[in-house]
Every structure is written in C-alpha cells, then in structure tokens.
C-alpha cells in the first residue's frame, strides 16, 4: 500500500499545471495577475475558475499581456499584499524588463514558469532557454523534477520570497511535467496555510502612516550599492532556502536541499542535470549501478542562488563529469550550468575532474535512457584516459548534424 508521508497528506493524481493551481488555491494570494500561454494556460485557467466560484478570496486581474501581468503583480506586491503569476516562454520574454524591477524593488513575488522553447522557429515544447535567459535577473530559481516537486517548491517559495525579499521563480518542464499526471501527495489546507503563515510586509506603499519612496531615480551615488544588496541577498538566500526546506521536512516529511545527490557516495563518474530529465537519468543510473558501475547524479534544484561551494566539494573527487544543459547559450563558449559548475570547481582550486558539456532536448527533443547510457560510456572512456572525447567543445545529444 502506498501511503502519504505526512499525516496531513493525501494521495491524488494531478498534472503539473493542476498541482500548481492547487498550490495557489491553498496559498490564496491576495492578487494573481496573469495572461495565458501554452503550456502554462491551465494554471491560470483553473485558478481563475477558483476565483469565479468563490473558492478563493484572491483578486484575479485578467491583463492583456505578460508585461502587464508582471507589472500588476509588482504593483500589488509593492502595495503590500501577496501576489503571484505564471507564464512560459514568450510570455516570460515579454516580462523581461519587469523581472528586473521586481527584484530591484525587492518584492517577494512568486511566479510559476512552465519551461518552453523560445521562438523562432516557433515551438511549444520543453527546453530551459526561457528561464535560463532570466538567470541573471535577481530572481531565485527553483527547478522541479516531478509533479510532487512542483507542489512542494511552490509552497516553500512563498516563505523563501518573503524572507529573502527576492522574487522566486518555480519552474516545471513544459508538457513533460505540466501535462503529465502523476501520483502526488497534497497536504490539507490548514497545514499549508499554517506553514506559509500570514504575510506582514515590513514596508508597503499603502501604509499611509509610514509613507516611503519606491523605485526612485538612483544614479552613480547609490545604484551600485543597491545592486550589491541584491547580490548579497542572493548569497544569503542559500541559508534561508535550506532552513525553510528543513522546516518543510519537519511539517510534511519530504526532504529538499539546494541540490539532490543520487548515488554519489562512492561515485567515480557523475552527471549534473536539472529538471524532469533528472528522473530519466536516475533510472539509467539504477540500471548501470546493477552492473556495479559507480556513477551518480547531481540534480540541481536551486539554480539561483547557485550552490557553488557545496557542489564543488561534492564533485571534487569525481573523475569524469557530464553536465547536461537543456538550453544553448549560442555563445561560442558553453551553456549556463556547465559554466557554473566549472567556475565553481576552479574557484575552489579543484581542477582534477574532467568535465564534458552536453546540450540536449531543445524544443522538446527526446532524451532516453539509451542516451544516458551512451554518456556513461563516454565518461568511462574519459576516466580511463583513453579515446578522449574533446572536453573543450559542446556536444549535442540526439541531434542530426
């Protein structure tokens, strides 16, 4: 019998989009402003039905674009209430300038982003180009492997945002998770509400007794200091995120950290990945482990802030590492996760692991257990020092050249 981990939980079958809307119902933010876009449409569709049915007291603002969605969310948050939104791909791109305003004003907004490729050519399927593009915008980024993680991450995100005063983006892979129904443990409304608590902003614009200025002109004299504060807040956020994860585990049973280590204790080789493909890698690793092959996985959950110190320590004794990015920087150099991993190691003086860069899955291109097994073969060759694959270039999985 499969049982919930928590006495406050029950098992249901839901898709990623459904569970995001369910989490939002339980959080019951004061304001949700959103514009629908494939494959995130259902989130706002289901949530707006909750509003229409009077199930939540949230104010739903049906805006005419994602730019306005983020603007309205920013305004609501600045006014002093909990505000959330959700989007994907082009929608996230259209929010671009407002993303920086949300983080610059230190507003604790939570946004659910369903990962989808960016046009052109037009494509509605999953890759991480959209949120990876926003990685330097001062938003905390939390990636989800499964429907369960989408739910748990959104609940934790509310606390993380309000405690760090940084906006938080929770992602799920488009269609692969957003439209995939899985068994998921949901917690009762009271337990979720009690976990997130009441929102009491330190300062807010509608506090007319304590007026303050937000978003003013900030030139050579102070802009730099304010930007530094965001960078500092991002570093400090790591501790906050871990503390909230620990509290979450106490409340609901599931363990979370900045990243997940899978079969890493005695590993000689490792794969680093993010998002739903981590689950496929786990299954491939199970098969390889049954043949006594010492390979492990590091699944990054919190990509911003990047947990550079701990990851460097965990990868220090690995002989060969494959970093798999679901976005291509088109930079002439390397993609985001690879660059972060390599600089994390090098800055700690760790230069022994051989690290190979792979790009996979753009526009929803399939990645299978067979592909992962082929990566293992390459890692093994690299580890043994024979038939070296060129680690100085990006390699592509399942691509016709």
């Amino acid at each position: 019998m499969i049982r919930p981990l928590s006495s406050k939980g029950k098992l249901v079958a839901k898709t990623g989009n459904e569970i995001a809307a369910e989490a939002m119902r339980q959080i019951e933010p004061d304001v949700v402003a959103a514009y629908p876009i494939t494959p995130a449409t259902e989130i706002v569709q289901i949530f707006s039905q909750f509003v229409a049915d009077g199930i939540v007291k949230s104010k739903y603002i049906a805006v005419e674009s994602e730019h306005s969605a983020m603007s309205a969310t920013i305004a609501a948050s600045a006014a002093g209430v909990r505000a959330m939104t959700g989007t994907s791909s082009q929608g996230l791109c259209f929010m671009w300038e407002m993303l920086y305003i949300a983080s610059g004003l230190r507003l604790p907004i939570v946004m659910v982003a369903v990962n989808r490729a960016i046009s052109a050519p037009i494509n509605i399927h999953c890759d991480h180009s959209d949120t990876m593009g926003a990685r330097d915008s001062g938003w905390i980024q939390i990636y989800s492997e499964s429907v369960q993680e989408v739910y748990d991450n959104i609940i934790q995100a509310v606390r993380i945002a309000e405690q760090t005063k940084l906006p938080v983006l929770v992602t799920m892979d488009g269609f692969i998770i957003s439209h995939c129904m899985e068994l998921v443990e949901v917690y009762n409304d009271d337990a979720v509400k009690s976990f997130i608590g009441e929102y009491t902003p330190e300062r807010y614009l509608l506090d007319i007794k304590n007026p303050y200025t937000l978003g003013s002109l900030d030139l050579q004299n102070y802009y730099f200091e304010h930007k530094y504060q965001i960078a500092k807040a991002m570093i400090d956020a790591q501790t906050t995120i871990v503390n909230i994860a620990n509290e979450f585990t106490k409340c609901f049973g599931r363990s979370y950290n900045l990243y997940e280590k899978y079969m890493m204790d005695d590993a000689d080789m490792a794969i680093v990945i993010i998002g739903s493909a981590a689950g496929t890698v786990k299954m491939a690793i199970n098969e390889l482990r049954s043949q006594n092959i010492k390979i492990g996985l590091i699944k990054i959950r919190v990509y911003r802030p990047f947990p550079k110190d701990n990851i460097a320590i965990d990868l220090a004794n690995i002989k060969s590492i494959a970093v798999l990015d679901r976005s291509d920087s088109c930079s002439g150099a390397f993609s985001p996760i690879y660059s972060d991993i390599v600089s994390s190691l090098y800055s700690e003086g760790i230069t022994t692991p051989k690290i190979i860069s792979y790009v996979y899955g753009l526009g929803g291109r399939e990645i299978t257990i067979e592909h992962i097994k082929n990566i293992y073969k390459t890692l093994n060759q690299i580890m043994l020092g024979k038939d070296q694959k060129d680690c100085s270039i990006v390699h592509y999985i399942n691509l016709r050249k």
Partner: protein, 196 residues
C-alpha cells in the same frame, strides 16, 4: 493487476476529439484508487486538430516512476479508431507479449491479418457502436477504457466506475446527463471486449 515488468506501459491511439488523452487520465485515476501503484498519464502534443492522429500514454508501477521520456515499447496498445490501423504507428515498438485492444466490428483474426500481429494478443470491441447506443454519439474513449480495465485484469469494475463518475461529475457539471451514458459505455465494453 498483472504486472509482468517493473513498469507497465500503455499507449493510446486516437484522433483529435475522440478523447484518448482524457481516457489515459481517467485510467490513471482509477489505478491510484487501488492504493498499490504509482502512475503517469500524459499526452503526446502536436498541432491540435480534430481528426488528426494523437497518442496518449500511461505508466503503472509498484515503485515510484521517475522516468520522463516517451514510451517506446508498450505492453498494451489501445486503438480508438480502426482507420489508424492503416498506419504502422499502432504496431510500432510492440513486444511479442504486448496486447492490442481495438475499437472495431472485425474479429481478432481479421485484424491480425491486417496488422500482422498474433491473433491471441488482439482484443476487439465495437466501442463506436456502444458509444452511440449509450452516449448518443461516437466518442469511443469511455468504452475503450472499460475494455482496457478488463484486459489488464484484476481491476475492480465498480471501483473504476466510481472513480470515473466522480471525475465526470466534476468535468460535466453543466451537463450531468452525459455521465451515466459514459458509465454504461464502460460497463458494456468491459463485458463485450473479446478475443475471437
């Protein structure tokens, strides 16, 4: 349920509008009622057009399912529209132990001649006819769901009907009259699906 492999995989074939995706979701919800299995249900998304071939998928396992890639070698294939037998997609990746359930008036033997697959593993049911008689139109997803429940085996029909009923009452809250028709369609196909 007869689970021979670590993960049982199901592939649904239909045409846009026939409800293959809905059937896959309903099947997953039925399975979790047993309390014994982890599930996945997901559609294959392409350009969404009425009548275009579409696929949907299920995974069922006693262990947590972490894989998130497509299903290539299904254990069960459910075909909502017999015109899809003309393409080779229906038989793609089949193992010799796989079972196919088809909405057709033909016999298993006649279908096996057409698709060159072992007759013993081909199950037939006239789901379109059942759907017209019970729901009033040709939406074969509910009867094919009933047929799948029967062929997979060890899934309680009444539990399944209750699960579907709760879901449909929610989905069709503005037209509850369609719920009973669908439940009857499931029951009838459960009785009528056969290997002949």
């Amino acid at each position: 349920m007869s689970i021979e492999h670590k993960i049982t995989e199901i592939r649904w074939h239909g045409r846009g509008g026939q409800g293959a995706k809905t059937a896959a979701l309903l099947f997953a919800e039925i399975i979790i009622q047993t309390g014994e299995y982890y599930i996945q249900a997901f559609p294959e998304y392409g350009p969404e057009r009425m009548g275009a071939p579409v696929q949907a998928f299920n995974r069922v396992s006693k262990n947590i399912i972490t894989i998130h890639s497509n299903i290539i070698n299904p254990d069960y294939v459910v075909v909502l529209d017999s015109s899809l037998l003309e393409s080779n997609q229906v038989t793609s990746g089949l193992k010799c132990t796989s079972k196919i359930i088809i909405n057709t008036a033909l016999s298993s033997y006649a279908v096996s001649m057409k698709i060159h697959f072992n007759k013993d593993n081909i199950y037939v049911v006239n789901a379109s006819n059942i759907s017209i008689e019970t729901v009033g139109k040709n939406i074969p997803n509910a009867p094919m769901l009933g047929a799948l429940i029967k062929i997979v085996g060890n899934i309680d029909l009444n539990m399944s009907l209750n699960s579907v009923k709760n879901k449909l009452l929610d989905k069709f809250r503005n037209k509850p009259e369609v719920v009973n028709g669908n439940l009857n369609a499931i029951s009838r196909a459960f009785q009528e699906v056969k290997n002949n």
